[in-house]
Subunit: 334 residues, 4 copies
């Protein structure tokens, strides 16, 4: 039985508490939050757990697992303390404020033989799992582009721009689906309020073999769109996260390419084929993820969404910030 302590009972904390509490191998024995109102809510919902305002539960000797669900700027200190005290760590995304911090935590976990997992919940949805299976099976062929749009009329964050707010979802999905070969980043954006923070941004990520990824992020859109298009040499797919009935559509479309003698060596004509929308299992992603976390701890497995994966996302976010500041300059990722 894993003894679990949760730090942070804000927006996402209650979902974490509920899922860890429900797992048969876990005992949620402590919840910490600085806000009295949130502590009351935690106490009412989880009467068996001790509720405290002490963030130093990261050191508590009676805990095996620390779940960190606090604001980003505190992740590094809390996770580091927990790891140093021999605890497995689940940390919310984005993992840390800097890539150096993310690397340090990753090294620390590896050195101590502890499980460190970054909560990129989307990677455990039926839709992303389905896309991963399709791409890995080669059904799309060679990948040409990855185009993501995540826009709506959003709540402005006060301390991070639209990229740090919205892109971690999409960058981690891309990293999971396309692999870890991203080479460079370029970004443009603008802010329109007196905060100095971008509210509209366009991020391009470059992969080998002319694979290009692009992210449209916007807090100021009158319409809500959450759509990813992936084009390959054999097939193409569209993931519409808002169309729950037909989340993923796979198109047997592409270019029929002929190589010819003469003026134009290549003749590419559109090829139109069937579309199909596979049924996507509707499980609660977070439940699956908690089960996987526990399994990794118990079997000593390294999760695919480990510290190194979390660090890659932070590296891309840092490079995006730098490119935004340097007028879109292409920033190498290695």
């Amino acid at each position: 039985m894993l003894r679990v302590g949760l730090i942070g009972y804000g927006y996402w904390g209650p979902n974490l508490a509920r899922n860890f509490n429900a797992h048969p191998e876990c005992a949620l024995i402590r919840i910490a939050d600085m806000a009295p109102a949130r502590r009351s809510a935690a106490a009412a919902a989880f009467p068996a757990a001790e509720v405290t305002d002490a963030a130093d539960i990261a050191k508590a000797p009676d805990l095996d697992v620390i779940v960190v669900a606090t604001p980003v700027f505190t992740h590094y200190e809390l996770a580091k303390t927990a790891l140093e005290h021999g605890k497995h760590v689940w940390v919310e995304k984005p993992m840390t404020s800097t890539h150096d911090q993310a690397r340090e935590l990753t090294d620390l976990a590896r050195a101590r033989g502890l499980t460190l997992m970054v909560d990129h919940t989307f990677l455990f949805t039926g839709a992303v799992r389905k896309m991963k299976a399709l791409i890995d099976a080669g059904e799309l062929g060679d990948l040409y582009y990855y185009d993501s749009t995540r826009i709506n009329l959003g709540i402005f964050q006060h301390d991070i721009n639209v990229v740090w707010d919205l892109a971690p979802h999409d960058l981690s999905i891309m990293d999971y689906l396309l692999g870890d070969a991203a080479e460079a980043v370029s970004a443009h954006g603008r802010g329109h309020f007196d905060t100095g923070l971008e509210d509209v941004a366009y991020v391009t990520v470059f992969y080998p073999n002319n694979l290009i990824a692009h992210f449209h992020l916007n807090w100021l859109s009158p319409v809500k769109i959450r759509r990813t298009v992936v084009g390959g040499s054999k097939k193409m797919l569209v993931w519409d996260d808002l169309n729950k009935e037909e989340q993923i559509k796979i198109y047997d479309k592409g270019m029929a390419v002929e190589t010819k003698e003469g003026l134009y060596r290549v003749l590419a004509t559109p090829r139109h084929g069937d579309m199909y929308a596979p049924v996507v299992p509707t499980v609660e992603a977070l439940k699956t993820e908690v089960e996987y976390f526990v399994e990794c701890i118990e079997k000593g497995l390294t999760p695919f969404n480990n510290g190194a994966a979390g660090a890659r996302i932070i590296a891309m976010l840092e490079a995006t910030d730098r490119s935004l500041k340097e007028n879109g300059r292409v920033i190498a990722l290695r």
Copy 2:
């Protein structure tokens, strides 16, 4: 009565011929094309017009107007010849292959007192006219961003990339709606076939006052999207060219901004209001445009889509090409 000669009877030529032929102040007296099959088609459809293979009708003394609807690389020579021979010129988009050529034609037309108009047909659609009226009336407030998506499974052009093929529409609409203050361009793109031409591209255009414009252009998309979103401080609009029933939607949405003392000086919260879709007149844009061209000639007016406007689009296309080659470097437009 204006005596009109048309050069080029390919994809768009028949529409031009039909509209000039139907105008009460115009006589379509000559049509030139190099292809025998197209000449036969022209002769059958317009029995009153003389049909010829001679491109030098641009010099013909019995013509007042030359309409140039040939491949782009021939526009400059044909238009120049026509202007030098005292004819008014209607030229298809994109206007020329280079900005220098476009400037030269513009100067020549001005010097001779002739009307030179570039056919950006979209500017005469009900939808674009409606958006222009809304923006000019200040209904959107200060503009924040202009985001355009024009993607589908397209026919590959052999001599131009996806930007030169698709972006002239969107750049000319942007130029018309936002005015001529664009300052710089940055672009990324990739080609996936052995032609050296980009089939996917992302183009960013920078305006003063943090107004940012962005264009997503793609010949390899499984879905067809033609959508433009414009965000302003008061309202926002979406133009969906494929939704003929509700082409333009105007959203009374935005950010309610409070300036506050304390930790965060600016508090921006979403403001949700009504949406409305004004009825958009369904006229044939080309008919309206031909009438406007004739009116400009007869009254000696300078069309808003004159050579200078056409040249601005060519300047942006050239800058895009350069930025694509130089890894997204920001290219100033002046």
Copy 3:
């Protein structure tokens, strides 16, 4: 302070308990259910309430209000007992199994001066409230038709057909929006499984002045549609309950009618105008409804969704059943 007892803690009961518990003028002091598992759930969620298996809480002297959320066939007995013991009653829809029962309860409540309210929650949604305001203000003009579609791949009920399962929503909305003048009903349907119950049905309701209402109900549809179209002489509206961003669209469309001399006395041509989608408040309908119920009790008001309104819906359901059995015969409602 109203002392509230809830009978039935199944699908909808927890929502009722939560809302009555949260109301400042109500004390939820007792919850009854026959199933041990549901009693445990109720006890955990509402520790301050007494939980029992005794349905005779309808007679309990320490309760002012009885909320009936049990299967339909038990509504009449429970509500009758509660009213006879001087309690105000909230009863779920459909109100009773027969129109006679519904009338009897209505008369009983009136004779005793008690509040009897039937929970047609949809009538308290922002969308239905908005439509009511528009229609009452005459914005649609004279009403021509009311067309409702409620179809999806649904869970088959074992004791009621698709009409009794789905139509109470739509019939009560129609009754609220169009008033109580419905004159007659006709229905066709078919069942395709060995239960004798219709899984597909079409119900027509006739109003004076050629106003016709129609309901498409289907448990076997591959797509989910919840849409109502209302046509009037001035404007028309579409309510799409699944389009949360644009729930209601009002179209300034109709027929421009000219009366003429000659062969055809009437010339009706389509008139196309603007569409607008007013912002619809997103409140929890059940919360508003509970507040209204308490207000009716405290001020001695008769709720618009009183027993008589509930009885009208039962009358239509009974007439529908009879018409289904008699091959679509038109059944008068009075």
Copy 4:
């Protein structure tokens, strides 16, 4: 070479003329219309054809085929004259004004060994052909229901109601897809203008084995919908004629039925599976139909859309009219 005469050059006539003129086995040698303006248009478009105002070309000895594209009330006389003079006949839908007329023409054509074909163009579209192939292959299993919606803001006809205007399309598609076993019809509708003609109507058609078909027809809808849903025991399909990219969607959905002992003998639970949208060929349906007509004449084949098929549709329309007049009474079709 078949010598073809066309009577009626109104809305649909030009398309017929174009397709017959283009067929290599046909010579379009005569076009008749009573309106001078339409005769001028015909003469300009088909200079090789003789244009006349004489409807008696149905008797002309130099014609092999008569194409009848005049108002419905004239079909019977023209087609009868043509058949009596030994000509093959193509007649527009609806075939005639009464079922007796349709039967008489059918018998006459059979007696004379002539080809009589009713132009239900939709039956030659890629979408309807695809659905026919799917249903005939048993892919949907046993059919449960056929639900059709054809509504928009339409042009009112002066001499026929919304059923005669819109339903021939849908009834002929149903007849083609489901076969000729329809047993009875019931209809309700209302008119809202001073013409006595229904502008909104609901038609139900009954088939053996609990298969139920339903048609929603409306000239007064603010939105345009052209959708057919077909539910079967194995799969279900949706045909959306306005979604050109995904016209037909086939859902591997249905009810998983278990027969059980105990209270409820049948347990039906929703079964959710993949959806796919097969590519639908985009040919001009009318071209295919003209080719089929010529082939039937040349090979002496009986077209599936022969007089008997046309007569079945007229029988349903007549029964609908009668049911509308008799308050929805179910009218047997045999």
